[in-house]
């Protein structure tokens, strides 16, 4: 199964002169027995890996050139380590899929392309390695390109592909362009890594600032600390606080070195608001003009990472941005065959399997689809009993059911109960909702923090006088709870 990954990374480090002399001396000593310089030894980590000659877990390696600074997440390729590959891919901008020129496109190559794309990587390099063993033949390279290209076309939202023929062992097209493949006019691997444009990856959404921590050194200072998941923020900007929906403006962005005129993703900042609004960890500051979706149930792609399979109706803890809450898998819609991309019916997801699931959270979440924002579109599932991280999810969309989507607006109508209507209107107004009472005893409710009540509400509820026979306060409370259930208010 050795496709030469360790040798390629070793070559990249060695040829870009980021290997220290004492490390080299270490490998020289270890390879003295069989001559030559075994660059793959540069990346060996754990004892078990050295003993078995395989990569078990993700290792991170660092090198830089005058153009860029690189972090390599060196991940195992075997199927039983799919979860480790997903881990490495979750924070990467670009993936290198290694193909052995002698074997062509294998199920493993397809799996790698699928997983990296699933995790949101928009740039793939298809490194066709061991060209030296195929006499550097152009037809070998082209046939692999063709086959891989056809497969990649079937992946939803196909990534940008760059095919490079190389030999990690001999150093062809890794750091320096090879003279042994004059038919190839593209860049060497490092050249491509140094120049590929990553800016288009940002499918910008508005401000998303999940609150991590509230800084309150004294009565006069209350700072909301967090890392921007997207967008930017300036003093004076209007912001909406979720889930309350309260609106206010940014007073200042505080740092130890002074106030900032602007902050943008992915900076870690501390923000003060114009008004003292109740905000705590787990809340999110967003742009009122472009808020995230409010979801209770949502469709997600789930990578399963635990020996104990994922099953519907088992309770889990879900961590999304800076909050952790109870959640369950309502339904496993299907499992994806990661070699062929075919959907298969599945009752459960086993270790290293990937599937489409419907998830329900205990409280509404504010999310963006993963393809638009990795941070507000991702979540992990934890086992409450063992504390293990058991699953990693990417949110596709809100489920098309009641309780999804933002903003929700309502029209509540009732006859002969003006007191209930006013009690309800006052309570909603206190929660920050714009309300309008119409002559026909209809209450229009807008999203919290909005400027005015809607004329075309998304939810309509009617009550007959007989249905509101209890005392006005409890009737108003009951309707309020109904609005919570319908996702109009929180």
């Amino acid at each position: 199964m050795d496709d030469g990954k360790s040798t390629l990374i070793g070559r990249l480090l060695y040829d870009s002169q980021t290997v220290y002399e004492d490390q080299l001396a270490g490998i020289r000593k270890a390879t003295k027995a069989h001559g030559g310089l075994d660059l793959s030894l540069l990346t060996d980590g754990l004892r078990a890996e050295r003993e078995q000659g395989i990569t078990i877990d993700v290792a991170y390696r660092y090198f830089s050139t005058p153009q860029r600074k690189f972090i390599i997440a060196d991940t195992p390729g075997h199927e039983q380590y799919t979860r480790n590959m997903a881990t490495g891919a979750s924070t990467a901008n670009l993936a290198i899929v290694l193909i052995d020129a002698r074997h062509g496109v294998l199920a493993q190559s397809r799996r790698h392309a699928f997983i990296t794309t699933l995790l949101g990587i928009r740039h793939l390099v298809i490194a066709v390695n061991k060209m030296d063993l195929m006499e550097y033949r152009e037809d070998v390279f082209h046939s692999i390109c063709g086959e891989f290209g056809r497969f990649a076309g079937q992946i939803g939202n196909p990534p940008e592909l760059q095919f490079i023929p190389l030999s990690a062992l001999c150093g062809d097209n890794v750091v320096h362009r090879s003279t042994r493949m004059p038919w190839y006019r593209g860049p060497a691997l490092l050249e491509h890594l140094e120049t590929v444009s990553l800016t288009a990856d940002d499918h910008a959404v508005g401000l998303r600032l999940p609150v991590q921590y509230v800084i309150r050194p004294n009565q006069d200072f209350r700072g909301l600390a967090g890392q921007l998941a997207s967008g930017s923020i300036r003093p004076g900007d209007p912001v909406m606080v979720l889930p309350s929906g309260r609106r206010t403006r940014v007073r200042s962005i505080v740092t130890r070195e002074g106030e900032l005129a602007e902050a943008f993703a992915p900076m870690s900042v501390t923000v003060r608001l114009d008004e003292e609004i109740d905000v705590s960890r787990g809340d999110m500051l967003v742009s009122p003009a472009d808020p995230p979706q409010r979801v209770l149930r949502f469709d997600a792609t789930l990578v399963w990472m635990n020996e104990k399979p994922a099953a519907a109706d088992r309770p889990y803890l879900l961590k999304h941005t800076t909050q952790t809450l109870a959640a369950r898998i309502v339904e496993i819609r299907h499992r994806v065959d990661i070699g062929t991309l075919a959907a298969q019916p599945a009752g459960e997801l086993r270790l290293n399997e990937i599937g489409a699931v419907l998830v329900e959270a205990q409280r509404p979440l504010f999310v963006d689809p993963y393809r638009r924002n990795r941070f507000t579109g991702s979540f992990i599932l934890l086992d409450a009993l063992t504390n293990e991280t058991v699953g990693a999810g990417m949110i596709e969309s809100a489920a098309a059911e009641a309780g999804d989507g933002l903003p929700h607006t309502a029209a509540v109508s009732m006859e002969g109960k003006p007191e209930v209507l006013w009690l309800l209107a006052r309570r909603l107004a206190e929660c920050g909702h714009p309300v309008a009472v119409l002559p026909a005893q209809v209450l229009l409710v807008g999203p919290a923090g909005a400027a005015s009540a809607p004329s075309a509400p998304s939810v309509e509820i009617r009550f007959t006088p007989a249905e509101l026979a209890e005392n006005p306060a409890s009737a108003a409370d009951r309707i309020f709870q109904e609005l919570v259930r319908r996702g109009v208010t929180a």
């Binding site: 890392q227 800076t322 992990i380």
Partner: protein, 299 residues
Amino acid sequence: MSTLTHLQALEAESIHILREVAAEFQRPVMLYSIGKDSSVMVRLAQKAFYPGPLPFPLLHIDTSYKFREMVEFRDRFCAEIGARLIVHSNTQALAAGANPFRLGTQKCCGLLKTRALLDALTAGGFDAAFGGARRDEEKSRAKERVYSFRDSFGQWDPKNQRPELWNLFNSRVDKGESIRVFPLSNWTELDVWEYIQVENIPVVPLYFARPRRMVERGETLIPVEHDVPLLPGEEPRMVMCRMRSLGCTPCTGAIRSEADTVPKIIAEMREFRRSERENRVIDHDQEGSMELKKREGYF
């Protein structure tokens, strides 16, 4: 659209980690080793919680074999920034005469560092401990998570680490278990020095070159402190040198260098073709020795 420099991106990531831990754990503590990485980590924590104080104490494991300059620096620095400092030593082992010359470095480290650290964490009831380790330092560290889970014996199981995706960290532990947290995981040695320069962060003067009394042992320069026993034929002499990483005097080699300022150190680093821990005797006492030490609870 603006983008961050790589140092700003690293800073943002580290601050995120520091705040996550402060928010999610009951009793965090920051391991403070007095070295350059600790200095950077403390600065990042100051930024993360500004204008508030550090919401956790600093903990120094004192083997009593540290350089005098290190201890002076520690006390002055902690007083200046108003940090709560806990100093812990394995007094029992020291009273029994534990020293590297008699016990060998492996056993000495086990008693004066690992045991002392585990005892201090238990005594403080700490459920999370920050450390300044970086993944580029050593090959077993390259595999370690940002949140590294430790069982109730403080042990690391490298083959059974929790998956760690995006910036979503799993902070759940049962009583007695804990998490070692490495906010500088993605920093390199060069990043650390560049940040020290940009941020004007104070570091122990031992990092800067000046003539020091040394003995040459093989290719390593050993400082003549703490009654280091000299081998036959060894003669201390003044050598222009500096420390590249700081540990206990008997186990910290110096390097020949003229770099007496931060910019000169950075220039030297860019030229450097030897790795940072090369002069740390303890990493080389056995094949895979850092992995073994870490499994047992060493940082």
